[in-house]
């Protein structure tokens, strides 16, 4: 992986939010991080560690106060079609059907109806939602909503996929199923993935590499682990558990 090409690079990134004109909240402190091409990187940190902000900076929804983030060597200043995001709260358009949600990005691009239907259908099938094309989001379960979120993100053919605690609102069973699904989809679609979570098991199950963000603001990187386990991984595999213990011990103060 070290020889692989750097896809996203954080250089001395800090972020301070200003609340109510005077109050400053220091969210990220001096983040230096490289994400490699086709890597599944997990950012693991407790609540209030700035991990969502980190992801939103890559997405272009926030800009760093100091430092910069570059994608393929070009500084990120705004959202772009090369990046897609899957949100914790789904953020589907309630007024659009499953099909309408998945093809929304293609419609923004001005793609012809026939063509975007075709692409949307392909991704709806990929996430296993055939037959639900005309359903509205409120008719779907949480897991299905997030499948739409994933299909919607991939339909735009991003270079980098950003996932912000995508399974945080799901029950444990559905969550494990969705973890399996995201790996299956990723192995089919490839590409660079940055996945944010507060769950150690999820991080080890998914990641090629895990970056730990320390709790309590401002967030900073306090560790990094490579996960060299073959996929599909088993939550009860002895190596899995060893790594889990290692991460847990080194970060128990903050999680």
């Amino acid at each position: 992986m070290k020889n692989a090409q750097v896809k996203i690079e954080f250089r001395n990134v800090s972020k301070t939010f200003i609340q109510k004109e005077t109050q400053k909240v220091h969210v990220l402190n001096n983040i230096n991080l490289s994400v490699y091409e086709n890597e599944f990187l997990v950012i693991l940190g407790p609540g209030q560690s700035g991990k969502t902000t980190l992801l939103r900076i890559v997405g272009g929804l926030e800009s760093p106060t100091t430092g910069e983030v570059a994608l393929d060597g070009r500084e990120i200043t705004a959202p772009g079609p090369d990046r897609s995001m899957v949100f914790q709260t789904y953020s589907l358009f309630p007024w659009r059907t499953v099909l309408g949600n998945v093809e929304a990005g293609l419609r923004f691009k001005g793609m012809a109806k026939q063509q975007r239907r075709q692409i949307a259908k392909k991704y709806i099938e990929l996430v296993g939602l055939n037959g639900f094309e005309t359903a509205f989001p409120h008719q779907l379960s949480g897991g299905m909503k997030q499948r739409v979120g994933i299909a919607r993100a991939y339909a735009n053919k991003p270079v980098v996929l950003l996932l912000d605690e995508p399974f945080g609102q799901l029950d444990a069973q559905t969550r494990m199923l969705m973890e399996k699904e995201i790996i299956r989809i990723w192995e089919e679609e490839k590409g660079t993935v940055v996945f944010v979570t507060n769950n150690i098991d999820e991080a080890i199950y998914l990641g090629d590499r895990i970056v730990i963000l320390e709790g309590k603001l401002p967030g900073r990187i306090s560790g990094e682990y490579k996960v060299n386990l073959p996929r599909p991984r088993e939550h009860t595999d002895i190596e899995f558990l060893k790594l889990r213990k290692k991460i847990f011990n080194s970060t128990e103060l903050i999680l």
Binding site: S84, M85, F93, A104
Partner: protein, 217 residues
């Protein structure tokens, strides 16, 4: 009841019941359409643009607590006893709930929906059309509904003062003729009409916003 039925055939002040009812509905529709077509865009601009908000909001906050009926005297002085003064009252009455709902509909949109649209490559115009329009549609529609029922009560109040037609006039006529039956007949027709209007608006809303159930309110 018999009086109510006989009104259909026996004209009052040279108009049958339906002609009176139509006179009221006609005024409501015109006044409401005028009020709404000013209020909705203004409310939307207020929600989207802080400068528009800074100019409109203080004026509007001043007007908001005034009952529309308190404009009656002024409107008669300005527009006389004709249709214009009644339409004006109705427009004022429709205006307030409509602008308020449009403004809040835009303002209370979940910012995560804008984020989602931006991440999918929407430009500012597409963001406003896709997210702003659709996400606020149920609230704007609710504003239209409220303002229509207010418009209906405004027309009656307006017709109580110096009018020769309409349902409000029938009630006043009933009072002048000491005829409770006529008054009650008028009230029944008014209630049925209001009821029909709201059922119709509900239907229309389900057609226009089929996803509405999902929105937390």
């Amino acid at each position: 009841m018999s009086q109510l039925l006989s009104l259909n055939t026996e004209p009052l002040a040279s108009k049958t019941l339906f002609e009176h009812l139509w006179a009221s509905i006609h005024r409501v529709l015109i006044g409401w359409a005028i009020g709404v077509s000013i209020a909705v865009p203004l409310g939307i601009f207020m929600g989207l643009n802080p400068y528009v908000r800074a100019i409109v909001k203080p004026v509007f906050d001043l007007l908001k607590p005034m009952p529309p009926i308190s404009w009656i005297s002024l409107s008669i002085l300005w527009f006389g006893l004709g249709e214009e003064s009644k339409v004006f009252i109705i427009a004022i009455g429709s205006f307030v709930p409509c602008i308020l709902n449009s403004y809040n509909g835009i303002r209370l949109i979940d910012p995560a929906l804008y984020d989602a649209a931006r991440m999918m490559g929407a430009n500012r115009r597409q963001e406003i059309i896709e997210v702003g329009f659709f996400a606020s549609a149920p609230a704007i529609f609710a504003g239209l509904q409220i303002s229509l029922s207010i418009a209906w009560s405004c027309v009656l109040a307006a017709e109580l003062v110096g009018s020769r037609s309409g349902m409000g006039f029938i009630i006043i006529l009933g009072m002048n003729q000491s005829s409770p039956a006529l008054i009650i007949a008028g009230m029944v027709v008014i209630a049925i009409t209001a009821c029909l209007i709201s059922v119709l608006m509900d239907r229309l809303e389900k057609m226009v916003c089929p996803w509405k159930r999902e929105l937390p309110q």
